[in-house]
Amino acid sequence: MQAESTERIAYAAPRTRGLMRGRAFLVRLLNDIRVFPALLLIPVLIFFILWNVIPTLWMIGLSFYKYSLMSPNERFLGLRNYNDILNDVQVWASLGRTFVWVFAGVSIQTALGFLLGLLFWGSRDMPGRRIALTMLFAPMIITPIAAGAFFQLIYEPTFGVVNWVVRQFGGNVNLLGDTNLAFGAVLFVDIWMWTPFMILITLAALGSVPKAELEAAEVDRLPWLQRFRHIILPNAKFILMLGILLRTIDSFKTLDLIYLMTRGGPGNTTDLIALLLRRQAFEALEFGWASALALILLLTAIAFTSIYLYILNLSSKRQEA
């Protein structure tokens, strides 16, 4: 084929010959199994380099400087920003709060999501199943800002519905103004929003369980718990773990909901690490310090991911063995 096209180029007019040569070169390039995949990757690579790699490198560089929008003369500080952050009690307090937020939130969402997912998995013929599922998924579709605004009104101590109910029993509650209740009140909204996601993941995970194995278990009259332990869980766990991983990373970054509902207050009882980062970067405009914190958080998120992946790999290796 190549010889044929070379022959055709030789007989063509000089201008056409050039075009045909170019075309032939392109065809050769596209046919090359080593080059073609790389060509396909170029657009996404450009995008990735422009929007991920360069900003990340820039952020790493900034983290070694005293760099503020307010004072244009940046100063090289070496590792001082990192040292300050690691010795800052407020950062640790905020980080501790964030871990509680992530652990409590994701655990409850996973447990509830799994239970509800199981319920819907086994009830294909349930009347109104579609409507029930649609309604169940609605919170996940609402933006966190809108959900935060709804719940601010629901929690409002003078006219909110929660306090109205509490008042009927002679009590009074100020959920977002009470230092003991605010964290739980905001966490509840997060759980309300993201449990549907875990239901969805559970349904997807359960859908991946081979029917043949389930039918065999049915024939063998295997108890439900055994079926769950030996068939459902081993097959569903990869997708479930993926869901937990996604929720963990997302939960670690929570900002919008808290920002709208409490701004980290009352006091600093709901001040999560993303809020602290935002405040330092975009209120204090201390980009050097904030870059150092952002890098630490990025590494923490990578560590999370690695641990999950390690656990997943470990269990799959055990299974194979």
């Binding site: 244009p72 977002l176 103004g177 409490t262 009352p266």
Partner: protein
């Protein structure tokens, strides 16, 4: 006959020509005559005084510019909430953008904008103009303001100097809104006097003599949760500077200071016993406020008052229009100076926080935009413009307008506004480039105490003072480093 007619015609023609000549020459003289210029004002979202500036620019300055300068100008109003306006302005200016030509800045941001050279030096503009842009000196912008505190707040940076970087867009102070139906009710008055042994104030003059101790008793008297009625409402929210603005009066009026502006010393000044006591008092006032007041900001304060949940409200004069929008409520509201604080010598001191905003001019404007900005500002300070601003609900600061005999009658809050805008009755805080960082620290500390998360006011003040001193020291704004004991001070 014909000669007379001809002579008369020529005379009339010459007279008309003479009358029109200055207008024509003025239009010819203006370098932008015949052009259309687009301008953008950045201001505070949902804040009437900000939007008034922009709406008046289009409603009134546009035809004025057309008539007097011969150019067409279109203003757009970009807005951001209080807590994010600074970031939006700073991010835009840091990139040397002329996206916003005139910015309604908060008074404390002057240093942050002036220090990197983002805004026009108004002193320079007044004295020398901007020769590189062909703009002449602008002596008309050398304004005589109603008080020195207004000048220090809206114009001056660095604190304590005469350098001016801003021009007042809107003046603002905290005033007290009181419901007359409760205050003047004979039965309520008799019951109060019977319980507390003194009569509640009735008039503006009575409120001038009212102390915070007495007001606290009034607030306690009207706190009736069973009737869904509370004595008062302030602002304690963590958002932006809300808690700070309502705590400072308790500190300043009792002799407390927040820093030494000359040495920029915070440690040893802010963390004083007077200020610790002020924090306790400020927190105690929550007992007379509706549930949730610990998160109340400007909007929640307006809601509580307009919905009849409170007897009184400590609120900015600038939101007067929202507070008494309903004609019935307007007629039922007395707007007076907020209570003073009794001093040891028996005198009453009241030093409340300054609100309000200056205009600042973007230094990266094109020559055309700069010229329009200067024309606009000159127009803004014309007495008739300032009076129109007041008629629309704004608060002018120019001395001639506030001193005008009819000023107090324009809006029901004007008398209290002018009273509180006086030297010695209001103060502004640091105009530092690191203002927002310092504010974020103290908002965290003050709200932690107000909400009951922490209960040791002195430790809270120590923690704030340490961090603020460190910010000033690290940014080379102060030679005084935080003391070694700061290492062991934590908020919790």
């Amino acid at each position: 006959m014909l000669q007379n007619w001809l002579r008369r015609s020529i005379l009339v023609f010459v007279l008309i020509a003479l009358m029109l000549a200055p207008i024509a020459s003025a239009q010819d003289a203006h370098p932008l005559a015949g052009r259309t210029i687009d301008m953008a004002i950045l201001g505070i979202g949902g804040w009437l005084p900000s939007s008034l500036g922009a709406s008046m620019a289009n409603d009134l300055f546009r035809p004025y510019a057309q008539e007097n300068f011969g150019y067409t100008v279109n203003f757009t109003f970009a807005e951001s909430p209080f807590e994010s306006l600074f970031q939006r302005a700073a991010a835009s200016l840091a990139t040397r953008s002329n996206e916003f030509n005139i910015i309604i800045s908060d008074s404390q941001w002057l240093g942050a904008f002036a220090e990197p050279g983002w805004i026009v030096d108004i002193d320079e503009l007044i004295a020398n103009g901007i020769p590189s842009m062909g703009i002449d000196p602008q002596p008309a912008l050398d304004l005589e303001l109603y008080s020195k505190v207004a000048r220090d707040t809206y114009q001056v940076y660095p604190d304590g100097t005469d350098e001016i970087w801003g021009l007042p867009q809107e003046g603002d102070v905290i005033v007290l809104y009181v419901r007359k139906d409760l205050l003047l009710d004979p039965e309520e008055r008799a019951a109060f006097e019977g319980e507390y042994g003194f009569a509640m104030p009735e008039t503006f003059e009575d409120f001038e003599a009212l102390t915070m101790e007495q007001f606290e008793q009034m607030a306690a008297f009207f706190t009736r949760p069973d009737q869904d009625l509370y004595g008062t409402i302030m602002q304690h929210s963590r958002v932006y500077d809300f808690q700070t603005m309502y705590l400072y009066p308790f500190m300043w009026s009792n002799g407390g200071q927040i820093w030494n502006p000359e040495t920029r010393e915070v440690w040893g000044v802010l963390n004083s016993q007077v200020n610790a006591d002020a924090m306790i008092w400020n927190r105690r006032m929550l007992d007379y406020q509706p549930p949730g007041a610990v998160n109340a900001g400007i909007a929640e304060n307006v809601d509580a008052y307009t919905q009849g949940k409170v007897f009184s409200a400590f609120q900015w004069a600038a939101v007067g229009l929202s507070m008494v929008e309903d004609p019935e409520l307007r007629a039922n509201t007395l707007i007076v100076p907020p209570p003073g604080f009794m001093q040891e010598d028996g005198s009453i001191s009241r030093i409340y926080s300054m609100g309000g905003q200056p205009w600042v001019v973007n230094a990266f404007n094109t020559p055309e935009q700069m010229r329009v900005a200067v024309d606009f500002l000159n127009w803004w300070y014309l007495p008739e413009t300032q009076l129109e601003f007041a008629r629309r609900g704004g608060n002018p600061v120019v001395a001639s307008v506030v001193n005008d005999p009819g000023f107090n009658d324009i809006n029901p809050w004007n008398r209290a506004y002018a009273y509180m805008l006086t030297d010695g009755r209001a103060l502004d805080f640091w105009h530092e480039p690191n203002y927002s960082e310092m504010l974020a620290v103290q908002q965290e500390g003050f709200t932690a105490f107000a909400s009951g998360q922490v209960n040791d006011p002195m430790n809270t003040l120590n923690w704030i003072a340490c961090r603020q001193q460190a910010i000033l020291y690290d940014n080379l704004r102060s030679e005084i480093a935080p003391p070694a004991e700061c290492d062991s001070i934590t908020l919790n």
